[in-house]
Assembly symmetry: C2
Homo-oligomer: 366 residues x 2
Amino acid sequence: MYSHKLLKPDGRHLTLYSRYPIAEGIVAPSPSNEPIAANPHLRWHPLRGEWVAYASHRQGRTFLPPPEYNPLAPTLHPEFPTELPQGQYDVAVFDNRFPTMSLAAHSTPALIVETLPANGVCEVVVFTQDPHAYLSSLELDRLELILQVWADRTRILGEHPHIQYVLPFENKGVEMGVTLSHPHGQIYAYPFVPPVPARMLEMQQAYYHQNQRGLLQDLIQQEIEDNQRILYQDEYALAFVPACARYPYEVWIAPIEPVGTFMELTLEQRRGLARALKTVTLKYDGLWNRPFPYLMAWFQAPTDGNPHPEAHLHAQFYPPYRSSDRLKYLAGTELAAGMFANDALPEEKAKELQAVPVKLETPVGL
Amino acid sequence: MYSHKLLKPDGRHLTLYSRYPIAEGIVAPSPSNEPIAANPHLRWHPLRGEWVAYASHRQGRTFLPPPEYNPLAPTLHPEFPTELPQGQYDVAVFDNRFPTMSLAAHSTPALIVETLPANGVCEVVVFTQDPHAYLSSLELDRLELILQVWADRTRILGEHPHIQYVLPFENKGVEMGVTLSHPHGQIYAYPFVPPVPARMLEMQQAYYHQNQRGLLQDLIQQEIEDNQRILYQDEYALAFVPACARYPYEVWIAPIEPVGTFMELTLEQRRGLARALKTVTLKYDGLWNRPFPYLMAWFQAPTDGNPHPEAHLHAQFYPPYRSSDRLKYLAGTELAAGMFANDALPEEKAKELQAVPVKLETPVGL
């Protein structure tokens, strides 16, 4: 993997990644040259025991722009600069122009609850220069590259003393509130381990302490033996609808053997995960022959300097649909109580997805 | 308060509540006479350490029916029975026909994760016979009655040995997935203390242990002294945008002094909460001169047989809008990490709501 680091005129970082060498002399554009003066802050929610982020500039962010201007495509007309330059590269990562967290955050209002500058990082990851692509339509070796990019970002962001947790995710589809259809994900790097990964690590720690094995490692073995909900399997990676799915079409992807972070993946594991990722997204988009919306989040070990033998890198997909024409709304029991109610059995939804034919570009040779 | 208990032909319970005596001889209808054979189950989510409910019949539930049939209105034509009878009563409570949990649940599938019959209760609370009303348009003494009804349901449901937590809530608006516009709420009675109330009680317990005072009690005092985000205040009750709001238009309502459950409210506290509830819903519906969607949830002490001096009955409103034409989507950082990102300051949103004029039907006399 080749990478090339650039600075935008407004002070933000841009890194280009490619499977091939990147030409020198590329200049990073920005939709605006005004320096970014983001100063988001965190407030402590004493009743829930968690941080909430406030970034009051965000209301004005890009919202369903006219189709002729795509800020995530390479700049075509210098008078309408986008976020990205022209040139030969595969993937681009840059600082979000309207960040929920920023390492430059420096002050907080005086309040009745505890506050902190929101010293995190919010990055945008553009998966391809093609505005009409989806993860499902990308070549396998580009998906492998994206896994390498996530590893590089985890390493770089995790090295910062503030950053305790790096979360790559993709919101896909207008149903998830996505305003730019150009294929892209995001990376949030938090100055604490956020509540959901913290809870999962707590459960994994307790299990590891008791069994000297990983909780997800054993769950994966049980899913393989049960063989009811599997969507993809090879020697290194697995994709499945978990037996405890909270969303009707929830899917998890993981290396079969525990791996803490993207950085520790072997070439074979990356290859397996890329095939699993391609299979799942092809099945999703093939299910109703239309782009299938979801939130995809990759959970890994914190970058807090402590060993995390309990952690097991994996992706969870949360799709908002419960059938082709019905959304699953999160309401009373989900948002207020925290108990998800699923009106479909994971076994039935797994069958639906298993039935969607998928052909990977390279024959599996089985 | 008067109440009258009936049995529906399909075996479900119906209770009518009124400020006036209820006539004898009312017969409870049901849209279908087929006995309810719900058998929902719970699956343990080992990674999140929480229960997930599965009720596979729910996909077929009533969904945007034609306007001439309203299952929550009193039955007009005996050949099209609804959920409610004709007669003089104010509020009606009945078992949900498509429950996520049921005391009759008895068996579970064999699975790789732990399972339990979902032995809870899901009730529907119809606030009025008027299909065009909102909480904001109901008289204050009917709102007081609704608070009494929630107390009665908490007592009755909480007495059942399975039931550990009673949560009254209202999903309002199509934006929250509501399929029936007739004004109604729901009550979920859980066979465990669900994750969100459990977490809040944990924080409240730790605070109470350290300070011998309530966490919310002290937060309320600080909100009163800070006097920036208050929407309603009298001697007994307070409504405010909390300093740690996770949703742009989030509002909390609480008695000023700690009260564990609806059952322990005094007449004066109920009166104050009714006025607070009417004020908040009037401000919401008045903000953009249209019905304002939200999730309203009332948190109280568990019915688990233990004392809960740390608990403090209160409502939290989660509205899905961040401005009149923009929804706040829950996506990557909220759903995957559990850190909410709010692009509006609670102080600004409180000002917007404070500016909406509200006139309660009875002069406050201040």
